[in-house]
């Protein structure tokens, strides 16, 4: 019987060799393809389990990974959930939002810049924690923005605030109201997370939205900054000129009649540029827009960032602010002059307009991320200011717009933002929505006017039970934020 037993031995040997070859194929040659298949959750789950880096504001971690005693090793915890939710976003298995998404490579440790650190960790047998992301946010300004916005719009209101350091483009505050608790979405209790997500996404107030960058609305009268800048930059007028105004204006005698909503100071056929700005004369800016024409107005708007969606990289899903690109009838050009018709802007965009005017006409790229750090807080990529548009308007034009805006605070509609002892430049906006809906309120300002440290845009989308007016509602919010920065 030994001959067949030997034959059986060889047969068994072949069976085992086949198994080994197949296992080698599977785990060596085919492994990468299998790992990269879209329905393979292992890579995602491993990333979810990993100790991610912190998101830092100053020295405080606003998002950090803590030990978790369930099937995943680390749980993402947001230490000031409501205050920073629009910025941090939240981490879930298979989905992230906000910085958790845009900085995923750094936070998870997959970024090539962290390669050396990972190697060292591997040698030292230390856990490989991801890199940290430190933010440009000024915690006092953020706190002031959130508190004052909440106070201004009330518990059922909606709004957003963005504050920028004009010289560097650093975002000092970015808040959206209402907001949410990302801890409720990042929990490892997936069914609870699912319930919470359903509740939040069905909420009429859309708390998951970061209104500062994702909501674009008619900028209303705050867009007069752009119209004024275009007029001054192109040399159509200087700040000391008289500009055509009047109680009403109907371009070429067709379309809607534009009036000044009762601001009688605008009624004369000609008013000073300062008066037009101080009292936000619609007729004056409508006429100015028609005189400029849509092309020149659009050129200035685009220099400030309109019609472009790639000026802000630090958070995902930024909405593009728009100025119409087609040839327009004068009746529509007139409406764009005070931020109506199809002009729409995000709060970030309006803050950028104010910041560029404050920075002698040069627009800095807005940035939320100050430094990229290794897990040991060693700087891997320092902050570097970037010019987005050198001389978006000339320094001279910027200086003149600033003067007009200072007048607007000192003796015009923007007076609620005045800070004793500081020269503040500001512009209000109350954008009509038509058909009986309450308007949107805007407020943009910067201070100190000569050497601006902060530029703010406040957007109030709704404030039930309150009278919507840019100056009254938005002014105090902008003031609180500016004070927090200047202190």
């Amino acid at each position: 019987m030994n001959k067949p037993i030997r034959a059986v031995s060889i047969f068994c040997l072949l069976l085992f060799v086949a198994l080994m070859i197949n296992a080698t194929y599977l785990q060596f040659w085919a492994a990468d393809d299998l790992n990269n298949r879209p329905d393979n959750a292992r890579a995602t789950e491993a990333a979810f389990s990993r100790e991610r880096g912190d998101i830092l504001v100053g020295r405080k971690a606003i998002a950090t990974s803590v030990d978790s005693h369930d099937r995943y090793k680390y749980l993402r915890r947001y230490t000031e959930p409501y205050l920073y939710a629009p910025i941090t976003g939240y981490l879930q298995l298979n989905s992230q939002t906000g910085l958790e998404r845009s900085q995923n490579e750094i936070l998870s440790g997959e970024d090539p810049r962290l390669f050396v650190n990972r190697l060292v960790d591997l040698v030292r047998n230390e856990s490989n924690k991801g890199g940290n992301v430190s933010l440009t946010i000024d915690p006092d300004a953020q706190e002031a923005a959130y508190q004052s916005l909440e106070q201004a719009v009330g518990p059922d209101g909606e709004g957003a605030v963005v504050a920028i350091e004009p010289k560097t483009g650093k975002i000092l505050a970015m808040t959206s109201y209402p907001t949410y608790n990302p801890n409720q979405l990042a929990t490892h209790d997936f069914s609870a997370a699912g319930e919470n997500y359903k509740r939040l996404s069905n909420d009429d107030h859309e708390p998951l939205l970061n209104r500062a960058i994702q909501t674009r609305l008619f900028p209303g009268s705050t867009f007069k900054m752009v119209t004024a800048a275009a007029a001054l930059d192109t040399g159509l007028y200087t700040e000391d000129d008289m500009v055509p105004s009047g109680a009403t204006y109907q371009p070429n005698g067709v379309g809607n009649v534009i009036d000044n909503e009762g601001r009688y100071q605008c009624d004369p056929a000609k008013v000073s540029f300062a008066t037009a700005m101080e009292f936000s004369c619609n007729t004056a800016f409508a006429r100015m827009a028609v005189e400029l024409g849509e092309d020149r107005l659009r050129a200035t708007a685009e220099a400030f960032g309109f019609n472009s969606d790639d000026y802000f990289d630090d958070l995902p899903a930024t909405a593009e602010s728009v100025f119409p690109t087609e040839d327009l009838e004068d009746t529509f050009v007139a409406q764009t002059g005070f931020g109506q018709y199809t002009v729409q802007a995000t709060p970030l965009q309006m803050a950028m307009v104010a910041a560029a005017i404050a920075n002698n006409g040069t627009l800095m790229k807005p940035k939320l991320i100050d430094e990229i750090q290794s897990a040991d807080y060693e700087t891997l990529q320092p902050f570097e200011p970037e010019e987005l548009q050198h001389d978006a308007i000339s320094p001279k034009a910027a200086e003149q717009v600033t003067d007009l805006m200072v007048d607007t605070v000192n003796s015009g509609t923007a007076s609620p933002a005045a800070i004793p002892g500081v020269e503040v430049a500001g512009k209000t906006g109350t954008a009509q929505r038509g058909s009986g809906l309450p308007p949107y309120a805007w407020f943009t300002s910067f201070a100190p006017a000569g050497d601006a440290k902060v530029a703010v845009a406040v957007m109030i989308q709704s404030a039930p039970g309150k009278e919507i007016a840019g100056g009254l509602l938005g002014g105090p919010v902008a003031k609180a934020v500016m004070e927090a920065v200047l202190q």
């Binding site: 059986v8 068994c12 085992f16 198994l19 197949n22 790992n35 298949r37 393979n40 959750a41």
Partner: protein, 461 residues
């Protein structure tokens, strides 16, 4: 029977010291893996490491001592190999327990204890494997009885589509695992008696000696039984295992490849018919051919298994660092995927080599065994392990369609573990007989007529 003269001149040593040394290495594998699971999952050495390690070591030492006393010439490699596999299996089960909050590892340790007890018991009771030849038909009948058990109402139980479980209160039991041992013994007993009839008659057709039609009875019977298992219990794996086993044993006992030829044709006919007419088989084959076609449904388990292997790569994620609990039934048939994910290709190859060693040791024992029954039993048991490992590991790595068998010594499951420990006991018993020095009988006299009648030790009943 082929002459063993070439091997007769060589006297085997007992090698019990080598066995003890290898056992220490095996325990290092098992206990080290257990500690590593604790470090990987909780970041600390498990609190019960000493108790657990002592228990495992005690079991190994008890088995070793039993061998020293009742089978001193037994093969020294088998026990360490199965101890290492069993220890590794326990560690992987413990790792899955921590993730799934089950308690398979502690149950498995109890079953292992029982398995070692039966192992020692078998070595003590079966003092000579030739005893096993006396109960051929009894064992065959009992085996068939076991196979029928799951079909009975009340106690029969269908799990994951296969009706191979018997459930008595809280105790689950897979009779097929015991049946496979009994079947090897029954086949061996039957074939050693009838091999001549099956071997000598026949006609030659195209270089192959085909058996006579009237001798086809047993193989047809076995084929039908296998088909019944397949159709009635939907147990593709056992069906394949039993038929393959019978075929190999028939071939070895008769030394006629013609049987393999006939068997292979019968198997192919059965397989093709099953593919077309048995829904369960169709489904398995379709999943094998197109696992990603329904990766979230029917193909989910196999796809997750493949992902696990791929994620493990060459050296694995490390125990406690992977996600093997994503694979349904990772503690049973798919335990190799968990090994592959957390310990990598390195460990998969190592485990396959350990299985290969068991098979090699069994077949070597068959080669050097001096009697036909022992040869057939050792060869049969070795083949059972080889086929079973091939079918289940090939299934989870998508080499062959998934059939559903336990992975010997690794998978959670008492019946399988116990049956495999008894298999090892029988193999050791046979190898003890085979390696034992032959009583010196040749130098008495040159003249056979003057020689004393050779004394044959009668096996006591």
């Amino acid at each position: 029977m082929t002459n063993n003269a070439g091997l007769m001149g060589f006297v085997h040593r007992r090698r019990r010291g080598a066995e003890l040394f290898l056992l220490v290495l095996a325990l290092v594998v098992g206990i080290g893996a257990y500690a590593s699971v604790g470090l990987g999952v909780d970041g600390e050495v498990p609190a019960n490491l000493i108790g657990y390690g002592s228990w495992l070591a005690a079991l190994a030492v008890v088995a070793h001592i039993a061998i020293r006393f009742v089978a001193p010439y037994a093969d020294p490699v088998l026990l360490p190999v199965v101890t290492a596999l069993n220890g590794l299996g326990l560690a992987v089960l413990h790792r899955l327990d921590l993730a799934e909050e089950t308690s398979n590892a502690s149950k498995q340790l109890m079953w292992m204890t029982l398995g070692v007890a039966l192992f020692v018991g078998a070595l003590l009771v079966i003092r000579d494997h030739r005893q096993l030849g006396r109960y051929t038909y009894t064992m065959g009948l009992v085996a068939i009885g076991f196979l029928v058990l799951p079909m009975l109402p009340v106690i029969g139980n269908e799990v994951n589509g296969a009706r191979i479980w018997v459930r008595l209160g809280p105790l689950g039991f897979q009779p097929g695992e015991v049946a496979k041992v009994l079947l090897v013994l029954a086949f061996a007993g039957y074939l050693v008696v009838h091999r001549d009839a099956l071997a000598l008659a026949g006609r030659r057709l195209l270089f192959i000696d085909l058996p006579r039609g009237r001798d086809l009875g047993p193989i047809v019977a076995m084929w039908l039984i296998s088909l019944c298992i397949l159709v009635l219990q939907k147990d593709l794996g056992s069906s394949l295992l039993f038929f393959g086993l019978f075929l190999v044993m028939l071939y070895v006992s008769t030394e006629r490849p013609g049987w393999l030829f006939v068997g292979a044709i019968m198997f192919l006919c059965g397989a093709v018919a099953a593919y077309f007419f048995v829904g369960h088989v169709t489904e398995r084959v379709d999943i094998w051919l197109h696992p990603f076609a329904d990766a979230r449904g029917d193909g989910y388990q196999l796809v997750q298994s493949l992902y696990g292997f791929a994620w493990g790569g060459l050296i694995g994620q490390g125990l406690g660092e992977g996600i093997p609990y994503r694979i349904p039934e990772a503690q049973n048939d798919f335990i190799m995927a968990a090994v592959g994910e957390e310990l990598g290709l390195t460990a998969v190859i190592a485990v396959l080599l350990l299985y290969g060693l068991i098979v090699e040791r069994a077949l070597r024992t068959a080669l050097i065994c001096r009697d036909g029954l022992g040869k057939l039993i050792a060869m049969g048991l070795g083949s059972v392990i080889a086929i079973q490992v091939f079918v289940v590991v090939g299934g989870v790595t998508r080499l062959v369609p998934l059939t559903g068998l336990t992975t010997p010594f690794l998978s959670a499951g008492g019946s399988s573990l116990i049956a495999n420990w008894v298999i090892v006991a029988i193999l050791l018993r046979i190898s003890d007989q085979a390696r034992r020095p032959v009583p010196d009988l040749t130098e008495e006299s040159g003249d056979p007529d003057e020689a004393q009648t050779q004394v044959v030790r009668v096996v006591d009943r």
